[in-house]
């Protein structure tokens, strides 16, 4: 796998030829989202010649919030459709953060919409704000598809509550996840009242077509990438557990065999969502990164036991069927813009870094790995890292707590002292949030521009 290249200019040129940074489509996508929002507002503007009074203002504020919520809702679902452009080019963790942010915002719009519209109708019927509950009941009873919309809104309330930080931390991940899956039902139930009672869709037949198109294509993408693509992948590759190896106390590697695994197109730095078809484990799938570059008949993951699922992997028997979805993740060599690369790993964040350390093209001295752990015993995979470093002429450093538990010094100064040309590096980083944040600041202090710090989080 590792073609060791001699140092020197010729070797460097050869390296550079293999570096083809691909820009993340994030900016373009954001522009498209904004353009769509402007389009939606324009539709409202076009269909609303005038607003006579206070009551009209309330109703129209309700219409605007409703239209925006209906538009964003489709995009919030789209973000979770596992579309390759999002998962592999923007990055799964970043998309998940977008999803969380835009999801919260959209739910706020939904609730504002319900409140404003019902308030407006109450006023129109000659009642006051305090009759809003009765008004809501009346509207749900009398208007088409409003019963469905009420069910959907109730589900949204449940989903929103379960995703509030403090609540979510107390819920088991799987419970939270399955509640979250109800989003699909909620979106389905709230869709119809938009078409049948929405003024703008009655007035503008094109808008109706566009709306069906938007929701139809999102549905198609979800079905394609979340259901059909994984089925095809697993039919083709038929993966099974080959062996489970203990690396350090609490960290195991799982070797997974299968057919033509190199055809899955996985790259070092990426991850899959794994489902092991063993009793008690088949109902949840967990993301784990490849901890070695994929080989034609073998993949490897390395997992730290931190909870239910991760702790049970050590009990896996060889031959257990594996259902995988992926590859996902954008922390790959495509992010690279420079000849020199610094890899920074915190704890089990070593897994994607280990795969990149092995495969990133580079001459001797181009690649450096900095590995942070609590103690030297916790430096999982150390032996093979040392071997790779040796073969490639790459640099390998570790930072652990001092015997009295003091944290190692990772600061702008210490980094610059160790690597005087650090500002000429691309940095790939994976580790716990606190660690990543402090290293990020140290790197920036040492002169590494933000666009060259590539980070992935294990939190979603």
């Amino acid at each position: 796998m590792t073609t060791t290249l001699a140092g020197g200019r010729a070797a460097r040129r050869q390296t550079m030829r293999r570096i083809r940074p691909r820009r993340s489509p994030a900016t373009l996508l954001l522009l498209a989202v904004w353009a769509g929002a402007v389009g939606v507002l324009w539709m409202w503007w076009h269909n609303t010649p005038s607003i006579a009074d206070q009551n009209g203002k309330i109703l129209n504020a309700g219409r605007i919030t409703g239209l925006l919520a209906g538009y964003l809702m489709a995009l919030v679902v789209l973000q979770m459709a596992r579309v390759p452009a999002l998962e592999r080019r923007v990055g799964s963790d970043r998309v998940a953060r977008w999803h969380a942010m835009s999801g919260r915002y959209t739910l706020c719009l939904v609730f504002a919409h319900v409140f404003l519209i019902m308030w407006g109708y109450a006023l129109q019927a000659g009642k006051t704000l305090s009759d809003i509950v009765q008004q809501t009941i009346d509207s749900v009873n009398q208007l088409p598809d409003m019963g469905k919309a009420a069910i959907g809104t109730g589900l949204f309330l449940l989903i929103g509550l379960s995703s509030i930080g403090a609540v979510r931390r107390r819920l088991p991940y799987d419970l939270w996840y399955h509640v979250h899956l109800l989003t699909y039902a909620a979106v389905f139930f709230t869709f119809w009242h938009q078409i049948t009672t929405g003024n703008d869709f009655a007035l503008t037949p094109i808008a109706k077509t566009v709306w069906y198109g938007l929701y139809g294509s999102v549905t198609a993408l979800v079905v394609w990438y979340r259901i059909l693509t994984p089925i095809r992948l697993n039919m083709r590759h038929r993966m099974r557990v080959e062996a489970v190896i203990e690396e350090t106390p609490g960290i195991v590697s799982v070797l997974i065999g299968g057919r033509k695994l190199h055809r899955m197109g996985a790259e070092a730095g990426q991850f899959f969502r794994w489902r092991f078809l063993a009793p008690g484990m088949r109902f949840s799938s967990h993301p784990y990164s490849l901890s070695a570059a994929p080989r034609p008949n073998m993949l490897r993951i390395t997992v730290k036991a931190i909870g239910d699922h991760s702790a049970r992997l050590r009990e896996l028997r060889p031959g257990t069927k594996v259902w995988a979805e992926g590859p996902y993740g954008a922390l790959t060599s495509q992010r690279r813009t420079r000849g020199k690369v610094l890899l920074v790993a915190g704890g089990v964040g070593i897994t994607p870094m280990r795969a990149l350390f092995e495969t990133l093209p580079g001459a001797a001295g181009d690649i450096t790995l900095l590995y942070r752990a609590n103690t030297t015993q916790d430096l999982a995979l150390w032996d093979e890292l040392a071997k790779i470093a040796d073969e490639r002429g790459a640099r390998l450093m570790y930072a652990v707590n001092s015997p009295d538990g003091e944290r190692p010094d990772i600061s702008a100064e210490s980094l610059r002292r160790k690597m005087p040309d650090i500002d000429n590096h691309d940095v790939f980083m994976c580790g716990p949030p606190g660690f990543a944040q402090s290293v990020y600041e140290a790197l920036r202090g040492a002169g590494v521009p933000a666009r060259r710090i590539h980070h992935e989080s294990f939190e979603m």
Partner: protein, 262 residues
């Protein structure tokens, strides 16, 4: 990896959203300055082009004023008034809620409301029980029509506007609305303006809408209107592909002519 400030982000997003919406709402005028019937629904294609100039409403003869579109929870309501010599001689809803139980309610309430307007000559009418939403929307649209009518009345000094209303012959001009004729696809109702014994204008205040009817209406009504003015009688050709609408149109036109004494 930039530091995230969740609270700041929430505040920013809320402030931006609220001020954006408030800005949009405040940019909209309180009354409709353009021809409101350019709005989608039923009679649009037919009536829009032939809206009489609203300028010289009270100047001479008859003119029509169309109110703003009022949104109710069952759909839109839009009122049109026919004004002669400063008096409301007729009120009608050119858009009213349709579909489901709305049809009944509309049928029940709108005619009553129309009558009341003519009787009271103001927006101070009582709601029809059982149809409070429609009545509310009706009143809103009516108020804006009356506002416009008054504004136009105050403007009569402007000669250009009164001539726009065609003051020369307008003295004898009158508007007659034919019967509602129900066709398989929905009601058709024709209104003609007659001056000096001739039809100077024809339009459909109601026409089938929804589904493919929208297309057919848009296709046929303008043609029929033209034909009616050209022929001066109800003996006009059907538009092919829209024979039901054409049939209804002709019947309603005939009844309007009968009423006009032509």
């Amino acid at each position: 990896m930039k530091k995230s400030h969740p609270i700041r982000r929430v505040l920013l997003a809320s402030a931006a959203t609220v001020s954006g919406i408030v800005l949009l709402l405040s940019l909209k005028p309180a009354t409709d300055s353009t021809s409101a019937s350019a709005q989608g629904a039923a009679a649009q294609g037919a009536a829009a082009a032939q809206e009489s100039p609203q300028g010289g409403a009270a100047a001479a003869g008859t003119s029509t004023v169309t109110g703003a579109v009022a949104q109710t929870q069952y759909g839109v309501v839009q009122v049109r008034l026919t004004v002669a010599n400063g008096k409301i001689t007729k009120a009608e809803a050119i858009q009213a809620p349709k579909g489901g139980t709305s049809d009944q309610k509309t049928a029940l309430s709108v005619p009553k409301l129309n009558q009341e307007v003519v009787a009271t000559q103001s927006a101070d009418i009582t709601s029809v029980t059982g149809a409070t939403y429609t009545s509310g929307g009706y009143k809103q649209s009516l108020q804006s029509a009356i506002d416009k009518m008054k504004a136009a009345g105050a403007n009569t000094a402007s000669p250009s506007q009164s001539s726009a209303a065609g003051s020369g012959q307008a003295a004898q001009a009158k508007t007659v609305t034919g019967d509602v004729v129900t066709t398989e696809y929905g009601p058709v109702q024709v209104r003609i303006t007659v001056a000096g014994g001739k039809i100077t204008k024809a339009d459909a205040v109601q026409a089938p809408s929804g589904g493919t009817s929208d297309q057919k209406t848009a296709l046929s009504i303008p043609k029929l209107n033209q034909e009616a003015v050209a022929a001066g009688n109800a003996n006009i050709d059907s538009v092919s592909g829209a024979s039901y609408t054409s049939g209804g149109y002709k019947k309603s036109l005939q009844s309007a002519l009968d009423k006009a004494g032509g």
